[in-house]
């Protein structure tokens, strides 16, 4: 597996940047000629991960969110979304569908379930007080020309 393209993006954890972040990742992936559904899946997963950084990682205070995107020669997109926020004590618990620590924000507790369902593979690594990294992969099915 060889990396044939890569991008890095960092931005403030303002919720007005959620649309910006998912649009940038979508534009990056456009090189692979994804279907509308594949692109929507990636945008939705990125939106969930970035919202988690803002609402949970930085608890609505300002920090920096980092996105690294890679494309491999086997049409795989690898997206890493990282914050240096509070971290997650119990990753397994956080990933349970409907579990949320922000019900007053009307968070449905579906962020990780959406990422897992819309991407091929999702990994979460987190350390309390250090931050959280979500790594997601999705292979874009090549279309016959």
């Amino acid at each position: 597996m060889k990396i044939i393209n890569e991008m890095n993006l960092s931005f403030l954890s303002k919720s007005s940047n959620e649309g910006f972040a998912r649009s940038v990742v979508a534009s990056f992936v456009l090189n692979l000629d994804p279907t509308i559904n594949e692109l929507a899946d990636i945008k939705t997963a990125v939106s969930e991960a970035v919202t988690n950084c803002i609402v949970h990682g930085y608890k609505m205070e300002h920090g920096v969110i980092y996105i690294n995107g890679k494309i491999t020669d086997s049409n795989k997109v690898i997206i890493k979304i990282r914050d240096k926020g509070c971290g997650i004590e119990d990753v397994e618990k956080a990933m349970e569908p409907l579990f949320t620590t922000a019900p007053e924000e009307e968070r449905a507790g579906l962020g990780f379930a959406v990422m897992q369902s819309f991407m091929d593979n999702v990994k979460v690594s987190s350390k309390p007080l250090k931050g959280t990294t979500v790594t997601m992969e999705k292979t874009i099915i090549p279309r016959t020309k």
Binding site: S15, S16, E18, G19, I36, N37, A40, D41, K43, T44, S47, E48, T51, I54, V55, E105, E106, R107, A108, L110, G111, A113, V114, S117, F118
Partner: protein, 100 residues
């Protein structure tokens, strides 16, 4: 974005554009403000013009279900485009019986 219309005891909220965490809060307060003033028998959430939504849209539906339950009315979610079906199905909001 949201535009509301009140007719025949029904408050309709026409949602449009991209629904994410950034805009969900203001949509929520606009709809709840109207609902609390008007006490409609039915709140209709119309998704026909929504181009994108993440789980914030699901939170919006679940929250309005609660708002309407508290006000003694009911919620209906209408015109969900094909592109939003996956997240709607995944969320299980169908179990609330609100999807029309």
């Amino acid at each position: 974005m949201v535009k509301t219309e009140y007719k025949n005891n029904t408050l309709t909220a026409y949602l449009s554009g991209e629904i994410d965490h950034n805009c969900a809060g203001s949509i929520r307060s606009q709809i709840d403000g109207q609902a609390e003033n008007l006490h409609p028998g039915t709140l209709l959430l119309d998704f026909s013009k929504v181009s994108f939504m993440d789980s914030s849209g699901i939170g919006l539906i679940m929250g309005r279900y609660r708002t309407m339950a508290l006000l003694g009315g009911n919620l209906k979610v209408v015109n969900v485009p094909e592109r939003l079906q996956r997240i709607i199905n995944l969320s299980g909001v169908g179990a609330l019986g609100v999807l029309k």
